[in-house]
């Protein structure tokens, strides 16, 4: 690691920061959260604390800008320079600037937070299916008001979970209109505008009036970028127009033709040759969290490192499960010392602390989870099919649409619930396709679509792609999980299953295998497979097929009556 000449550092540990403006690329709450998490990277390993100010001058002033943005170091358009920051000190020292000609995301493509709808502001789930068609961006299909929307689970038809995507027809950000939506057409300098414009500004940000006449009312806001909007070019914020003509040839998708740098671009009108209107196509984008964590390292006094895996290495590379490199920790602790004292949170009771003479019920989970029933009218017995059924801490759990029920493992067969998934496992989506508890480590694995989460007590890792486990990207979802001896789990999808080595986090060789070849006599399109009290259950709709340890189907019955005890 390197520090700046003279080991520049803050002379106080309670550092303040202020976000001056926002990028149109992501919802402001996502940007707030990314910056907060980026500061936490450093406060986790030092005595530093970070307090956000909403006015006045903070130690670290954070802003977005393009090209020449007011200091002697202009940015350079898309890619190349992403951001820069100044070492600790007065004035511009300590500030961090982010190039808004970049496409700011969470590093894995459009990060679209919904508003309104019925998904409580959940993120769009891409791809999602709607009326048999798959969508990888927001759409106005199915609506007459031209508002872009998305599903927040993989299958809108099944889950009916949706929200509205960022659009100037819904809201604006910044400006002086408290987020009011645009009014079209509006008059500006005597001219009528039917859409957002950069006219009147030198920083390239798109804005609109929030009344019919800006000249009279002076009320305005900035336009959020739609997830389909192009980046940079000369049509910032406009969507691609397909097909478009370029050099006399028609294009139905983004192309790198005409460029030497291989970047994908598109026309934003039907004929580039005539209109010369274009922009770069949305790509994975750059993780605002990762770039901010790096820049805040500078703002705290770290210069660049030559350790390739260090956060303070000059070049950007996306990492999914980020953690500080030893080099970063040594550098920042050279300046500020290690974190002192325990976190203020009280220690949690662990299993061995409970008195064994207590009530013989199974030991309460080491993490005390306060889950409250959410809607007692939701009756599990009225459901014909669950998203998944699995055993967690020796109790059968039934998941459906963000709720779960659990069957006490005592003989009285009392069903508890509905309880809220998001209360107990906040990172999880509404629909869980399958889940299992690793018997060795007590870690809980949850699968939804092509992603998975791993809970260890309250802490969570994920979402990560199931490809990280070695599953093929052709899998739509994992539908079942069977623990097989120590550290092996069978994962079912469609007619196949794979064996996961949990310790190696890798699929064993020789898989997939056909379910009906190994487990004869059960449906090979079961939507749920789980292990319970020594038997394997294959569920399809209202029924289950129970298989004993000799792989004989010894019972077919109703989930409702035999498992839920309705």
């Amino acid at each position: 690691y390197q520090t700046f000449e003279g080991d520049l550092k803050w002379d106080h540990n309670d550092v303040t920061y202020r976000i001056i403006n926002y990028s149109p690329d992501m919802d402001s709450t996502l940007i707030d959260d990314a910056f907060a998490r980026a500061f936490k990277v450093w406060s986790d390993v030092t005595p530093l604390s970070f307090t956000r100010l909403f006015e006045g001058t903070a130690d670290i002033m954070i802003s977005f800008g393009r090209a020449d943005h007011g200091d002697p170091y202009p940015f350079d358009g898309k890619d190349g320079l992403l951001a820069h920051a100044y070492p600790p000190g007065e004035g511009i020292q300590g500030d961090a600037h982010f190039d808004d000609d970049e496409y700011w995301t969470l590093g894995t493509g459009p990060a679209v937070k919904t508003s309104y709808g019925n998904a409580d502001g959940a993120m769009c789930h891409f791809p999602f299916t709607f009326e048999g068609k798959s969508y990888t961006t927001c759409t106005t299909e199915g609506r007459t008001d031209n508002l872009p929307w998305c599903a927040t689970t993989a299958d809108y038809g099944r889950d009916q979970k949706y929200g509205f995507c960022p659009s100037e027809l819904l809201y604006t950000f910044g400006g002086n209109a408290n987020g009011a939506k645009c009014v079209f057409p509006f008059v500006f300098l005597g001219k009528e505008y039917k859409g957002c414009t950069t006219e009147g500004r030198s920083d390239g940000y798109r804005w609109c009036a929030t009344t019919e006449n800006f000249d009279n009312d002076k009320a305005y806001g900035f336009c959020p970028s739609r997830d389909t909007a192009v980046i940079g070019g000369n049509s910032e914020g406009e969507p691609c127009h397909f097909p478009f003509v370029f050099l006399g040839k028609e294009y139905d998708s983004c192309t790198s033709e005409g460029r030497g740098d291989g970047k994908l671009w598109c026309g934003t009108t039907d004929n580039y040759d005539e209109d010369k209107k274009w922009g770069f196509c949305p790509d994975k984008g750059y993780s605002l969290f990762l770039v901010a964590a790096h820049e805040f390292g500078h703002a705290l006094g770290l210069d660049h490192s030559n350790i390739r895996d260090a956060l303070m290495y000059p070049m950007y590379s996306y990492v999914e499960d980020f953690s500080l490199n030893k080099d970063d920790v040594e550098g920042i602790q050279y300046l500020y010392g290690p974190k002192t004292g325990p976190d203020p949170t009280p220690p949690k009771p662990t299993a061995e602390e409970t008195d064994p003479t207590d009530d013989p019920r199974p030991t309460e989970p080491s993490t005390t989870t306060t889950t409250r029933p959410v809607d007692p009218t939701k009756d599990a017995c009225k459901l014909t099919k669950f998203d998944t059924i699995t055993v967690i801490e020796n109790e059968l759990h039934f998941f459906k649409d963000g709720h779960y029920w659990k069957m006490s493992s005592r003989s009285d067969g009392k069903l508890q619930g509905p309880l809220s998934v998001s209360e107990r496992w906040p990172a999880l989506p509404a629909v869980i396709d399958s889940a299992f508890e690793d018997l060795l480590t007590k870690k809980l694995y949850f699968f939804s679509g092509a992603r998975f989460w791993v809970y260890t007590g309250q802490s969570v890792l994920g979402p990560r792609s199931i490809e990280k486990l070695g599953l093929p990207n052709t899998i739509q979802k994992v539908e079942g999980a069977l623990q097989r001896g120590k550290g092996k789990v069978l994962l079912f999808s469609g007619e196949n299953f794979w064996r996961l080595d949990v310790k190696a986090q890798k699929i064993d060789n020789g898989y997939p295998r056909y379910t009906d070849v190994v487990f004869g006599g059960v449906p090979n399109d079961a939507h749920d497979v789980f292990q319970y009290r020594g038997h394997i259950y294959f569920c399809r709709d209202r029924f289950y097929w129970r298989m004993n340890s000799r792989r004989q189907v010894d019972r077919v019955g109703y989930v409702k009556y035999d498992l839920l005890m309705c």
Binding site: D76, G77, L247, D261, K276, H304, M315
Partner: protein, 89 residues
């Protein structure tokens, strides 16, 4: 065998032109990130300092220190990065 399509390079309005030669790219990069100070030196001396500067950049980036503008060095110069200089100044 069809002749390989001859790619036509177009100048896009509003594009921040980055079509530079490799030498221009390297010169800009080395100056911007503090490997080469911007004081102009005589021809011969500037050659020596450029080679040295390239080697310093290669060491910082964990590349083979050849002093040449080889492929991996030019690739590294094109990758997205932080704007803060690598050589404290």
């Amino acid at each position: 065998w069809s002749l390989p399509l001859k790619s036509v390079f177009v100048t896009f309005p509003g594009d921040i032109i980055k079509n530079m030669t490799d030498t221009e790219l390297a010169e800009t990069y080395l100056k911007r990130f503090g490997y080469l100070d911007t004081v102009h030196r005589s021809g011969f001396q500037s050659m020596v300092s450029t080679t040295k500067a390239v080697m310093r950049m290669q060491r910082q980036m964990g590349l083979e220190e050849t002093g040449q503008l080889d492929k991996s060095t030019l690739e590294a110069m094109k990758r997205p990065r932080c704007g803060v200089p690598d050589v404290a100044n």
